[in-house]
Structure formats: C-alpha cells, structure tokens
C-alpha cells in the first residue's frame, strides 16, 4: 500500500527517476536550455524561473505540469462521460438493489430474478453463441482475404473499395435488399427452386441465425481486412527473404513468420469485431422486429423490450452484471498480453 502511494506522489517519485535514469550533466545542460528559451520567448517564463532556482525540484515541477496538462486535455471528454455515463451508472447500481415501487432495499433479489429469467438465459446464450460462432469465422476469413489482397498488384485499390463498401451502407437502406433476398417468396428461394431444391423459410426459423451471421460478416469483412493488412505490412520483408533462402515454403513462411507477428493485430481486430458484433442488432431489429425468432433473440432485444415495458429493475441488475462481466473479460485479456490494446 505504501509503495503504491509513493509511486503516485510526484514529489517523491520523480527525483528517484531522475537520479536513476539521467546523467547529471545532461540535466544541467537542459536546464540551461530552458532558461535560455524562456528568456527569449518571455511568455513562458514560469518553468524557466523555477528551474533556475533549484534544479532538483524542476523536474518534479515539470512532471506535475505535464499531469495537469493531461487532465486539462482530458477534461471535456471526462466531464461528459462522467455526466452521461459514469455518475448515472452509480444510480443504476443503487437501483439494482431496490424495489420497483417505493425504495425498499431488496438485496440481491433483482439479480436472482434476472438470472432465473428464462428470456435472459436464452438471450445471453444466443449472444454468446453468436460471438463464438461469428468472431472466429470473421477473423479467419478476413485474414485470408488480406493475405490474398497482398498478392494482387493491379486494381488493389478497387478491390479494397469493394470490400469496404458495406461499411458505408446504412442498415436501413440495405435491409430492403435483405428482405427481398431472404423472404420466403424472395430471390434466394427463387434461385434454389431453379436449381431444383426446396425453398427454405429463412427469417422465421432457426435459419435466421445464419442469415444474421451472414449480414454481420458481410458488413465487417472489409474493416477487419484493412486491420490485418496493416499488421501484415508491418512485418519486414527481409524475414521472408531470409526464410526463402533457407528453403522455406509459402506455408512455412506464413506459419512461422506471419502468424506469430500478428498477435497484436489479432487483439485489436478481435476487440473491434466484438464491439461491432453488438451493432448487428440493427439488422436483426429491422429484419425481424422486436420479437424475432428465438434463435436470434439477443441481449440487445431483451434490454430493448425491458426498456419498452419499463422493467427498470431487471434492466439495472442485468446492466450491472454485464458491466462486471465485460470488465473482467477485458481485464483478463489485457493481463494475458494484450498490452495497451
């Protein structure tokens, strides 16, 4: 505990840093520079004057100043986030232990109700299933596409445009196309019938899950591909050349050079794909409404319906659980080597 405090307090923390990391001569030289520059510009005389008085306190002053500037730059965003999300979330937390009417304390009752709620279980299960199914497919497919796009030299720009295009098309516009495609009387069944196969009921049966997965992958393939391309481009060309000289094949190169160096990219790509996966609610909602087939009834639908029915108690408890769950996952993720992310 004490160690922690010592680290945070700038007065104690920085002089040690200075004596450890910086040679004395360098500091004196830099202080002189500071004095000079402040004398010339005049407008920023304060740090120079301070430094002039005592060299040892100068650095700590600078660090303090840096921290303050950091806070100042962060302030507008932090203030807004505080007002719109953080502080009200405390209220949500408080309400999750209260009764709906009046303000009686009910302990974990709301949580128990949510956890035993069948709709919640199904929705949470569906969301997890969707993530577990779609994320690996999306990540693998977009990596394949990125590797292929790397090989192509002509018209690379146009291919990228094609892949990124779905990102720009609003769900509200494209949903009319999806309806034409996946309706029972729609284009896909028309095609199947012409091939001599039986038409399927795509939107109001368990197949809705596949339809939604396809929509998600369609929308996010380009975005992920660009992320992978950046990762691939960062691997030095010489490594491949060296491997080729030693007789490594294309697959060996990919397996032992490319893949290990894509770890960082994988983390970010997975994270952003995860974030985007929640947005698939838009397509689901526009295609199938508030109560879609149970195979695509997600947590987002459930929250939405609770909200419409003013079931605030369940909502608050579920929100608190989701935040804690997501926080734990993120924390674990970063611990296991995600780095700064």
């Amino acid at each position: 505990m004490q160690k922690q405090q010592r680290k945070i307090s700038p007065g104690r923390w920085i002089p040690t840093l200075r004596s450890e990391k910086m040679p004395h001569r360098y500091i004196r030289c830099r202080d002189a520079l500071y004095r000079q520059s402040s004398g010339e510009s005049g407008s920023r005389g304060l740090p120079g004057r301070h430094l002039g008085k005592s060299g040892s306190r100068g650095l700590s002053y600078r660090e303090l100043r840096e921290a303050w500037s950091g806070y100042l730059f962060l302030l507008p965003s932090l203030l807004g986030t505080g007002i719109f999300v953080l502080i009200p979330f405390l209220d949500v937390f408080r309400r999750s232990f209260l009764r709906a009417v009046g303000s009686g304390f009910v302990g974990m009752e709301n949580y128990r109700q949510v956890l035993t709620n069948e709709a919640f279980r199904r929705a949470a299960g569906n969301t997890a299933r969707f993530m577990l199914f779609c994320l690996p497919i999306l990540l693998a497919l977009s990596l394949c596409m990125a590797v292929l796009v790397c090989q192509v030299t002509h018209f690379q720009r146009w291919i990228k445009t094609g892949f990124l295009m779905p990102m720009a098309i609003p769900a509200a516009s494209v949903v009319i196309f999806f309806r034409m495609l996946f309706d029972q009387k729609g284009w896909l069944n028309l095609l199947l019938r012409q091939m001599g196969l039986a038409g399927q009921d795509w939107l109001t049966s368990g197949r809705a899950f596949w339809v939604l997965s396809a929509c998600y992958i369609w929308k996010n393939l380009g975005y992920d591909m660009i992320l992978w391309l950046a990762g691939l481009g960062a691997i030095p060309e010489e490594q491949y050349e060296a491997a080729k000289v030693q007789g490594a094949g294309a697959w060996a190169c990919f397996r032992y050079i490319t893949l290990p160096q894509l770890k960082e990219t994988l983390f970010v790509t997975a994270l952003l794909s995860f974030v985007n996966a929640f947005r698939v609610f838009r397509e689901a909602y526009l295609l199938a409404g508030e109560y879609p087939h149970e195979s695509i009834y997600m947590l987002q639908h459930l929250f939405n319906n609770w909200f419409v029915n003013l079931d605030i108690q369940k909502m608050t408890a579920a929100a608190v659980m989701l935040v804690i769950g997501t926080g734990a996952v993120l924390f674990g993720f970063r611990r296991t080597g995600g780095g700064e992310g």
């Binding site: 700038p10 719109f84 516009s173």
Partner: protein, 296 residues
C-alpha cells in the same frame, strides 16, 4: 512449367477476390437497379415480398424500362422524407462537432501525457467502448429525463458526443507522431496548447478525418439511440423513418434507400484513403510500422 503454374495461381487469386468483392457490392448494385424501375415493374418484381400480393418475387438485373420516376416522386411529394433527412443531418453533424471538441483533446491527453490514474481511466474508456448501447441506455435515460431533454435532438446528440470509440482510434494516431518534432517545439518554448494546435492537429489530420468519417457512418446509421430517446416522429432520423416508409410506399422505397445511403457512400468514397489509414493506425502499436505500410 513453374511459371505457368504461378500465373494460374495468380489468376485464381484474382478471380476469387473479384467474386468476393462482387458479393460485397451486390446489394448496392441491386438497390440502384431497382430504384430505376417504374412502379408497375417494381410491383411485378417485389410485390410478393414487400406488398404481400403474388406468388413469388421476380428477378431482373437491369430494369426493362429505366426511369427516374421514383426519384422525382420522392423529391416532389414526400416532405416527411426530407424532414427525416435533415433530422439525420442535424443529429450526425451535432455529434461530430462535439466529438471534435472532446474526443480529439482526450486522445491527445492519453497519447502524449503521463498522469496518475491514466491506466485506470484508459481501462474505463475501453470498457465503455466495448459495452453495447443497451447497457448504458438506462444511465442515459436517467440523465436525459432528469434534464428534460428526452424527445429532443439533444437526446441523441449529447450521449453520442461522449462515445469513447473515437478516442480509442485517435490515440494510436497521436501516439505514433514523431516524438522529436514535439520535443523540438517544446525546447523552442511552445506551450502544450500551442503544440497541440500547431503540431498535433495538422500531423494527426488523417486520424481526425478517419474518426469523422467513421462517426458519420455510425450516426447516419443510428437506430438504437433515436429509437430509445425520441418519441415524436417528426424528429426521427432517416434510419428510423425509412423502414416505415418501405412498407407504406413500395414504389419509391428503393429510391429512398439510395438517397439515404448516398451521403454516406459519397463521403466514404472521397475519404477512403483517410479511413483506411485511420483504421490501420488503430491496429498498430507503433506508427513507425505504419509509415512502412503507406510507402510500401
């Protein structure tokens, strides 16, 4: 022999990629082609699905009698559509302006300064970025109804401004700026604000453009937020109004869809370069690597 094989492989890759890219843009092409159909042709093709009459849908890649009738109808006699269009513009632009003022300095703070509690705050921002809207919906609702802002444009704009995704994307761009330039400016006596305005902003422009484009695509497409916070239909953005319109007037539904996606797609096409750079930067740890990507 070897050479022929390699060429064949190249063609295979090329064809595969083109097929995929074709599938990706197919919806857009179909929407375009259908929007040029006359109302009778449209009914023949889509009546079964959208109107509920007829046995099955028809399929035609090109309209037999291309006409701009649907667009004319949309432009001349659907004032509600234009109300929704301007609502969308207002809400999207409001969010973007706010993000410029808050998210850009915040990203600068995370990228360039050391301060106590930074790690914890960054964790918090990442968490907020990941959480779906539905989780923070209640918090937002409590504040907005407390401030009597529900059912106004502000109800969509204000929470949108403080989304943390742009901070996440932009931080990488700022962190990748060459440290020497900033250090040199500091030695020349530039204050933190001067450095931010004169060095950070110009050098970080690609990143800023890319968060603006991404933000536009995101809020032009917003459905959850307006659906939750807006009750009056006259304040609905396009993304909410359009699905309703599709079932009411099939004849101009495709034209309306095209006009809706037009601003987003045009912006995307004109800013694709920046968008790619910004997305790529968010995936990189050090931007020294990024430089190589751009030049290579």
């Amino acid at each position: 022999m070897e050479k022929g094989k390699r060429r064949a492989a190249k063609w295979a890759v090329w064809i595969l990629l083109c097929t995929f890219a074709g599938i990706m843009v197919l919806p857009l092409l179909m929407l375009c082609s259908d929007s040029l159909m006359g109302s009778r042709e449209l009914e023949e093709i889509c009546g079964a699905v959208l109107g509920g009459q007829g046995e099955r849908a028809g399929f035609r890649f090109f309209p037999s009698y291309p006409t701009l009738r649907a667009y004319v109808r949309l432009l001349l006699d659907s004032p509600e559509y234009f109300t929704a269009f301007w609502n969308s513009m207002l809400q999207t632009m409001g969010v973007l302006a706010g993000q410029l003022l808050t998210a850009v300095p915040a990203a600068w703070a995370f990228a360039r300064f050391r301060f106590p509690g930074k790690k914890m705050l960054w964790f918090l921002y990442m968490l907020l970025m990941i959480l779906p809207f539905q989780v923070t919906m209640v918090s937002g609702y409590l504040v907005l109804s407390g401030a009597r802002l529900m059912d106004t444009h502000w109800a969509v704009i204000l929470p949108g401004i403080f989304s943390t995704l742009p901070v996440f994307i932009l931080r990488k761009t700022f962190a990748g700026l060459p440290g020497e330039v900033v250090e040199a400016a500091r030695l020349d006596g530039a204050g933190n604000v001067r450095i931010f305005l004169n060095i950070g902003l110009p050098l970080g422009m690609p990143g800023i453009f890319s968060i603006l484009i991404l933000g536009f695509l995101e809020y032009w497409n917003a459905i959850e937020q307006p659906m939750t916070y807006l009750k009056t239909e006259a304040r609905w953005p396009l993304s909410l109004y359009l699905p309703q319109m599709v079932s009411a007037e099939t004849a101009s539904a495709f034209a309306a869809s095209i006009v809706t996606l037009l601003p987003a797609v045009l912006l995307f096409l004109s800013g694709q370069e920046y968008l790619e750079q910004g997305i790529a930067a968010s995936g990189m740890e050090r931007a020294g690597k990024l430089k190589k990507v751009e030049s290579g």
